[in-house]
């Protein structure tokens, strides 16, 4: 059984993992506040001690150096978030918000504070401003923003100030991070700051009322990578098939 067959399988699995991430991006091509994910692959030595070894081939005097590539396999190293801004589209809803610039809304989930760019807000039965997952938006002290029931107009200023019927009811905490790549993706378009030493910083980003930030997934990029990935998968399969044919020949014809 040639080891090259396992290399082929390894490559095919890597392309499948790439395809999984691409499908996830495509599925979220119109999710507000969605940030695309790029898979990152790296090569891992099967057995680190064998890399670059000079091995004596049996019954010869010549050393055969195995190429390090024979002993490497491809592995999914990381899923990196693409932090580019998605397009901002006007919707006309007073409770649709978008952050223009670098910044997140701060929301309170049962497990702690989360950060999101998804600004589709609603009011719950107590008048708190909540996201579509039911998490209340909080201000700089962690208190929810409560809009008095029956308010005719809700205005949200560029700095996150919420005004209901000309009375200020709170100011949303819009924050940014020095290194957004360190934030953890928890799904539902939200991110968590897992490192307590990293602080949320104030930002000059403006909040736009009546607009939503759409997904930053570019369909053209996803489709062309998809073509590349599915063809690479096919070629890996052909490689495995070639090994199978060689083994078949060895087993069926040479052995006779």
């Amino acid at each position: 059984m040639a080891s090259g067959m396992w290399t082929g399988m390894n490559g095919a699995i890597a392309q499948q993992q790439r395809l999984t991430t691409l499908s996830h991006n495509l599925a979220n091509a119109s999710t507000p506040g969605f940030k695309g994910v790029d898979p990152v692959f790296h090569q891992v030595p099967e057995d680190a001690s064998k890399v670059g070894d000079i091995q004596q081939a049996p019954n010869t005097h010549l050393p055969i150096r195995f190429l390090p590539e024979d002993r490497l396999r491809v592995e999914l190293a990381d899923r990196v978030t693409d932090w580019r801004d998605g397009p901002l589209t006007p919707t006309g809803n007073a409770l649709d918000l978008a952050v223009r610039g670098e910044g997140f809304f701060t929301v309170e989930a049962p497990e702690g504070l989360l950060y999101t760019r998804d600004g589709t807000m609603s009011l719950d039965q107590d008048g708190r401003m909540v996201t579509q997952s039911g998490w209340p938006v909080v201000d700089a002290e962690g208190q929810p923003i409560i809009v008095p029931p029956g308010s005719a107009s809700i205005q949200i200023g560029a700095d996150g100030r919420v005004t209901a019927d000309d009375n200020e009811v709170g100011r949303m905490a819009i924050v940014k991070f020095a290194n957004p790549a360190a934030l953890e993706r928890v799904g539902l378009s939200a991110f968590r700051n897992a490192d307590p030493t990293v602080e949320a910083l104030p930002t000059e980003a403006r909040v736009e009322q009546g607009m939503l930030e759409r997904s930053n997934v570019n369909a053209i990029d996803v489709m062309t990578t998809l073509i590349g990935a599915s063809r690479a998968f096919e070629m890996n399969m052909r490689g495995i098939q070639a090994y199978k044919e060689m083994d078949d020949k060895a087993a069926q014809e040479v052995g006779r």
Binding site: I220, D221, R238
Partner: protein, 260 residues
């Protein structure tokens, strides 16, 4: 093959941005003072496999090399500052600039200066001159109660009539820039100065190369609908050609995958 795939994808993305720009121009074909934008597309860098002029033997050189380009990208979206058509409206506080230059407004709450070509001015409850969004015009001009027949002269002086007497209410100032295309679009028909636009040079209308003012008129958008439609067709076809290149690459990759 993979290079062709990604080159074609970059072409499609560049055309997509070009269509976005054209579409924005068309959406603003009736916006007062709107300046159309043009997407400048540039080729991406090339990979050199053999440089031209490499020696092919002891005393000969290759007359050309092997360089493969990697696609296209949008280098810049450039605002075109040609003057749009000026339409008389008959409203005394409508002003158009018959040439280059910008009106100045103060943007609340921080008070930074915004620049605009949109001269549809109004008075607020205190009689101060404001733009359509309610931002104060800089320098601040107040129209006292009881003043009628307000008109703007060619040099920017605003005059009115109070109890039969003519009164001078102030003079509008115009800001000029070395590189207006470098201004930042701030939305709401406003621009802001940036590092590449240069400093604003403020003066009376007609000074510093700025145009004189025309009261009772508004400047329309400088968008030519026909030109934008041709752009749209050209970009759409280029997008299609690039998608054919993507399909061809896909076919060829499939052929490779099926080699026996």
């Amino acid at each position: 093959m993979i290079r062709a795939l990604y080159s074609a994808a970059s072409g499609m993305k560049a055309q997509q941005t070009a269509i976005d720009v054209t579409s924005n121009n068309l959406a603003n074909v009736n916006t007062t003072g709107f300046k159309k934008v043009r997407a400048n597309i540039q080729e991406l860098l090339s990979q050199t496999e053999r440089a031209p002029g490499t020696a092919t033997s002891a005393n000969t050189e290759a007359p050309s090399g092997i360089q493969v380009g990697l696609g296209a990208r949008v280098a810049s979206t450039q605002k075109q500052f040609s003057v749009g058509p000026v339409k008389p409206t008959g409203t005394g506080l409508d002003v158009a600039i018959m040439g280059s230059g910008f009106f100045q407004v103060t943007i609340p709450p921080a008070g930074e200066i915004g620049y605009t070509r949109d001269g549809a001015f109004h008075t607020d409850e205190n009689g101060q001159l404001v733009n359509t969004q309610g931002f104060l015009i800089e320098p601040a001009i107040t129209i006292p109660e009881g003043v009628v027949n307000v008109a703007v002269g060619q040099d920017g002086t605003i005059t009115g009539q109070q109890e039969g007497q003519e009164v001078n209410l102030g003079q509008l100032q115009i800001a000029s820039f070395v590189n207006p295309a470098g201004l930042l679009s701030a939305g709401g028909n406003l621009f802001q100065a940036s590092g590449s636009s240069g400093q604003a040079v403020v003066g009376n209308p007609g000074e510093n190369g700025s145009g004189q003012l025309e009261g009772g008129a508004l400047e329309g958008a400088n968008v030519q609908a026909v030109e934008e439609m041709i752009q749209l067709i050209a970009a759409q076809r280029a997008f299609e050609f690039n998608s054919k290149a993507v399909q061809a690459s896909d076919q060829m990759l499939r052929e490779i995958g099926q080699l026996r």
